[in-house]
């Protein structure tokens, strides 16, 4: 694949994530997404760049902001819309909601307790290592997670046992409403990796090609049996911590505008134009993606809600069948 074709594919994925997210934002404002929606707009280059390098058998753990990672890992957009809306047909049948679902066919997990994924991802990697597989575990988390006990415990375990885990810290500059400079005493979160003997790096997380390049080396290293790897992706969320949060209380319009100038979609598009793609081609691609997402959303809105009986399905495997 030429670089141009590859960038075009990445751009298409960026568009999918952005339009998916923006439709979700509207659904939240209309209260059709009931709660728990955390917008991913602005951070798409991270999910798209990293997940484009993964195989189906690699495992991803994500956060309370999981939709981008899940779709980039292969989840069906209709199923993710349904989960956001709490409908049957959702990835977790509408029982999990916008912050916690499992898409087993795509080996995707997420959850809404900040930092908790790091030890579990290490355990998945331990299983792969014991079984002699070259599959890897990838764990996405935010800047805020880097202050939790599970972050340090999990990374330490992965490091002492050389486990094939890719730790991706998405530093979007805020832990909920608190600026990262106020709660992390080092200038780069990647510096924290050095405490575990790892050479953590920081990458421009708005630039999908930069994400791709940094992650390519990391994935190769992990498949060769040398792990873990820690990468901090410097990024920014364009919308609030959750859909509709009082963002004027913690950041200015000017700040948001500065980061929007480095919109990952804009960067990719500018590069594609420079490489000879026409405005018309890119506009058509975007309108097709948007129409497809709208169609998926409309489909999801037609789906029924789970029954009350389903609320207690699968709490555990029935005794005797376990």
């Amino acid at each position: 694949m030429s670089d141009n074709e590859q960038l075009m594919e990445l751009y298409q994925q960026l568009l999918v994530l952005r339009h998916f997210d923006e439709f979700c934002y509207d659904l939240k404002m209309k209260d059709l997404i009931m709660n728990g929606f955390h917008p991913y707009s602005g951070q798409e280059a991270v999910a798209v760049g990293v997940c484009s390098l993964l195989r189906g058998d690699d495992v991803v753990f994500s956060t309370h902001r999981p939709q981008g990672h899940s779709i980039a890992k292969g989840s069906n957009t209709r199923a993710v819309f349904c989960e956001m809306l709490g409908r049957r047909g959702g990835v977790s049948q509408g029982i999990g909601g916008p912050m916690q679902w499992i898409d087993k066919p795509h080996n995707f997990f997420c959850g809404s307790i900040v930092g908790s994924g790091l030890p579990i991802a290490a355990g998945v990697a331990l299983a792969f290592k014991r079984q002699g597989l070259d599959s890897i575990a990838v764990c996405f988390f935010g800047d805020g997670a880097s202050n939790t006990g599970a972050f340090h415990e999990g990374m330490n375990l992965a490091a002492i046992w050389d486990l094939p885990v890719l730790y991706i810290c998405e530093n979007n500059q805020y832990g909920e409403a608190m600026p990262v400079q106020e709660f992390v005493p080092v200038s780069r979160i990647s510096q924290r990796a050095s405490a575990y003997g790892l050479n953590g790096i920081s990458v421009d997380g708005m630039d999908v090609e930069a994400v791709l390049n940094a992650t390519t080396d990391a994935v190769a290293q992990l498949r060769a049996g040398n792990g873990p790897v820690f990468i901090e992706m410097i990024t920014y969320r364009f919308r609030g911590h959750y859909g509709g949060d009082p963002e004027h209380t913690y950041r200015s319009r000017e700040e948001i505008a500065v980061w929007r100038n480095r919109d990952p979609l804009l960067l990719a598009r500018t590069r594609l134009l420079a490489r000879g793609f026409s405005e018309e081609t890119l506009d058509e691609l975007e309108s097709n993606v948007r129409a497809e997402m709208e169609e998926d959303m409309e489909w999801a809105l037609e789906q029924p809600f789970p029954t009350v009986e389903q609320a207690t399905d699968h709490v555990m495997i029935p005794l005797g069948q376990d």
Partner: protein, 324 residues
């Protein structure tokens, strides 16, 4: 039948499961070189090697999360939390994640993990190494909670736990490790949710688990000399709870005492008493009596730690008052 200690029953059963199934491994603090604080995994490192007898750093969240993650992808970990008091560090991994994955995956993911730990008094370890915290876990949907009181029950329940695809918390008791009992030599399992009558009797049903079963049996012996016939029944798993066995027993004896080492408030002793009240109201001569640990941090020192949790004397007093 072989006569062995509770501690040795853990070791023999663990070794048997490790031999039976290559995906089983033991992970915990000092389970390898030390062979566990009490010797419950002594010698296993030599037989099975460090990949299967896995010494974990003192890092309960990491170790527990690691066990859960590996269980998602083909392994069957036994994760040992050295003291149940340390489980607070591991609870997010267990309760918010491991126990919920089956439901969140619409039944597609299984988490075959055993959390083994030990609680209770008996080693003068004071308030952060002696608690009885089982009640917290009975309230977690999706988690099986087992508390074997004898070497034979330990073997059967631990085998069931390792072979189950559901997450299981198996709580041992530090005062039980060096108690001994007859253990059948075949590869038997004990299903979850099946109580066992440890001593049949006619006048009163004493419901107890773990170390308190031994206290109840001692009380029953004393009371027998006074002409009181006690039935001692051990639920063996707190969830699922064998309600029918409790009800059947109380319908016969018409009197009931529930014993726990943990404080009464918010605990399964209340659940057991409630089941009995709901289903044996007509038969009961008097309301159910509870004999529970004092609502205090466990104090240091032999005399004080013994003073704050039930023993046979407390149980005898309760039974005498109930039958008076």
């Amino acid at each position: 039948m072989a006569r062995m200690s509770y501690r040795d029953a853990i070791r023999e059963t663990t070794a048997g499961e490790l031999r039976r199934d290559e995906s089983v491994y033991l992970i915990g603090e000092d389970v390898g070189r030390w062979g566990n604080l009490f010797g419950a995994s002594a010698g296993l490192l030599e037989e099975f090697g460090p990949a299967r007898i896995c010494d974990s750093p003192i890092s309960e969240a990491a170790m527990t999360g690691c066990a859960i993650g590996s269980a998602l992808y083909g392994m069957r970990p036994i994760a040992e939390i050295m003291y149940i008091d340390f489980i607070t560090i591991a609870m997010d991994q267990m309760i918010n994640h491991g126990v919920k994955y089956h439901q969140l995956s619409n039944g597609q993911v299984r988490v075959p993990v055993v959390f083994r730990t030990q609680g209770g008094v008996g080693m003068r370890n004071s308030s952060q190494h002696s608690q009885s915290l089982e009640n917290w876990f009975v309230n977690v949907p999706g988690l099986i909670v087992a508390m074997p009181s004898t070497p034979a029950d330990l073997c059967g329940l631990l085998r069931s736990a390792v072979r189950s695809d559901n997450p299981v918390l198996l709580i041992e008791h530090k005062s039980l490790y060096f108690t001994r009992g007859e253990v059948p030599e075949d590869d038997y399992t004990i299903p979850f949710g099946v109580a066992d009558i440890k001593r049949p009797g006619e006048d009163v049903t004493i419901i107890a688990t773990s170390w308190m079963v031994l206290q109840a049996l001692a009380a029953a012996k004393t009371l027998a000399d006074e002409g009181i016939s006690c039935e001692v029944i051990d639920p063996r798993t707190l969830w699922p709870l064998d309600k029918q066995a409790l009800v059947d027993s109380v319908k016969r004896t018409k009197n009931c005492v529930v014993v726990t080492e943990a404080p009464a408030e918010g605990g399964w002793s209340g659940e057991a008493a409630s089941v009995v009240h709901e289903q044996c109201f007509a038969e009961l001569r008097k309301p159910v009596r509870r004999v529970c640990g004092m609502r205090t941090g466990i104090p240091y020192g032999t005399d004080l730690e013994k003073a704050v949790v039930p023993d046979a004397g407390w149980i005898c007093d309760a039974v005498r008052e109930l039958l008076a």
